[in-house]
Amino acid sequence: MEKRRAVVSVIGKDKVGIISRVTAVLAENNMNILDINQTILQDFFTMMMIIDISVIDHLNKLRDELELVGEEMDLKINIQLEDIFQAMHRI
């Protein structure tokens, strides 16, 4: 099967347990994290993860679960296919 990857981005006010909650959702869905990058930008917690989504057909379930975490922790969580970033930033 062709390798499909998605980017999970998490942005919001820093607090305890963000990475734990987000990665727990990914683990429950059997998602492997390929790359992870986290920093604090102007007091804002910012995290980008690249995950392998070859094992699932669509992102709906994952998106819903991540959005739920986002609402609970007051974070903005997006999940997008990696292709869009490749198209915009790589020739």
Binding site: M48, I84, F85, A87, M88
Partner: protein
């Protein structure tokens, strides 16, 4: 190659804070095989074909926008110019067909269906005449049907008889919808040099050179360009062009990717990317504000044409590098009612109708979504169209007129059209008559530019 964090943040910022979106995915459908001497058979076939071909357009577009995290604002349909299949149908039947198209659009959940159109730049056939006569009622009795009429091309000259007729049609369409500020006119475009694969409304139609079915995509992103320029306040104009070019490149690449995915999932060919910068009434999503950011106190002042020419050219250069198939109108749109900066320019007196006309010489379309006084005469409307057609004809480019003579409103009043169509201050027209020019009728011959063989 892996993607850097700042690149991911840049894309997210473009979408969430700067209004980057895919403005429209437009499915072009040929209706040529629906023609029939029996109107009722044709009417039924048209409905069934559109419903069948575009059945999944909305759902596929919605799934795809979620996956890529870039919104697709409009899902639309363009069809074979209806005049070409009308045959011997009556005016009443043409209106009924418009209602059928409206019903299909509503059934599918698409916001507009374009192609209730006639190409009469050299002359009108029986079907063309029927369609033109049906236009005022067809547009005022439907919600989502868009119409366009081609009255001129560089190759044929200007059909001034059709131009004259359009003056009356626009006036009548406005009167029939006077309770809604003449909204029917917002769905009617008069073209010079129309293109066959334009995905944008109200001027979209599926030209006769097109295939059975195709997906065309229009991106947008004035807000992204504006914010990119704001980060370089002291760049010289060469650098300004470069910033716009790079931004347009990224926007176009996003659009092409998503367009191709939607087309593939629908099992139809991808047609073209239209590179137009189309403004909306969202904060900062304005072409006028880009021109002001380049260095004008208010849009419409001296230097506006130069800034617009620079911007329009840079958008094309960036976009052309990003997509293999560029088409449609591809340039900057300068609609008034959909652009907060243009509205402000008019209210503050910096932007006039004459300046807007001049701007159409260097941008992709023409006088667009402009409200004018309700007491304008049909001859003056025709003369406005003739001027725009002449600009397009001589400069070998598309020009268009979409003006709304708002019944009962005078210069300076504000009118609301609602939704994407926005609001506009009513503009006055030149009080002197053009009646004799229009009454002469006939055809303005094709210019020397047409003799290129």
């Amino acid at each position: 190659m892996s993607i850097a964090m700042d690149e991911i943040i840049q894309t997210i910022r473009m979408v969430q804070m700067e209004n980057l979106d895919i403005r429209t995915v437009t499915m072009g459908i040929s209706l040529q095989d629906c023609a029939d001497s029996d109107f009722y058979k044709m009417n039924k076939r048209v409905y069934e074909k559109i419903i069948t071909y575009a059945g999944n357009l909305k759902s596929v577009a919605e799934i795809t926008e979620k996956e890529f995290g870039v919104p697709i604002i409009n899902k639309r349909i363009s069809i074979t110019p209806i005049a070409e299949i009308l045959g011997n149908a009556t005016v009443e039947q043409a209106i009924e067909l418009a209602k059928t198209l409206d019903k299909a659009a509503k059934q599918l959940g698409v916001d507009f269906i374009g192609g209730f159109s006639a190409l009469v730049h050299k002359g009108a056939s029986i079907g063309d005449e029927t369609l033109l006569k049906s236009l005022p009622r067809a547009l005022s009795e439907t919600e989502r049907v868009c119409a366009s009429v081609s009255v001129a091309t560089t190759r044929t000259g200007i059909n001034m008889d059709a131009v004259q007729q359009m003056g009356f049609i626009i006036k009548e369409a406005a009167e029939l919808t006077k309770d809604h500020n003449g909204i029917a006119c917002a769905k009617l475009v008069v073209f010079c040099n129309p293109v066959e694969d334009n995905p944008f409304m109200a001027g979209a139609f599926h030209g006769s050179g097109e295939g059975e079915v195709v997906l065309n995509v229009g991106v947008s992103g004035p807000g992204v360009v504006l914010n990119a320029l704001r980060r370089h306040p002291s760049a010289d104009l060469g650098e300004v062009s470069d910033i716009i070019k790079k931004t347009a490149f990224k926007i176009t690449r996003a659009g092409e990717l998503i367009g191709r995915v939607v087309a593939k999932r629908l099992g139809i060919p991808f047609g073209i990317m239209d590179l137009s910068l189309a403004p909306t009434n969202a904060v900062n999503d304005s072409v006028a504000e880009i021109l002001e950011e380049i260095g004008l106190e208010r849009v419409g002042t001296h230097g506006t044409i130069a800034a617009l020419a620079l911007m329009n050219d840079a958008v094309k250069k960036g976009g052309a590098m990003a997509s293999s198939y560029v088409g449609g109108l591809s340039g900057a749109f300068i609609p008034v009612s959909e652009d907060n900066g243009m509205i402000r320019g008019i209210i503050e007196g910096s932007l006039t109708l004459s300046k807007l006309e001049a701007m159409t010489c260097v941008c992709s379309v023409g006088l667009d979504m402009i409200a004018i006084t309700g007491n304008v005469t049909p001859a003056t409307l025709s003369a406005i169209i003739a001027d725009e057609a002449a600009i397009g004809m001589i400069n070998k480019k598309t020009t268009a007129v979409r003006v709304i003579p708002v019944p009962g409103k005078n210069e300076g009043e504000m009118v609301e059209f609602g939704g994407l169509l926005g609001r506009a201050p009513v503009m006055g027209v030149n009080p002197f008559s053009s009646q004799k020019l229009i009454d002469r009728g006939g055809r303005i011959p094709a210019p020397l530019q047409a003799l290129i063989n």
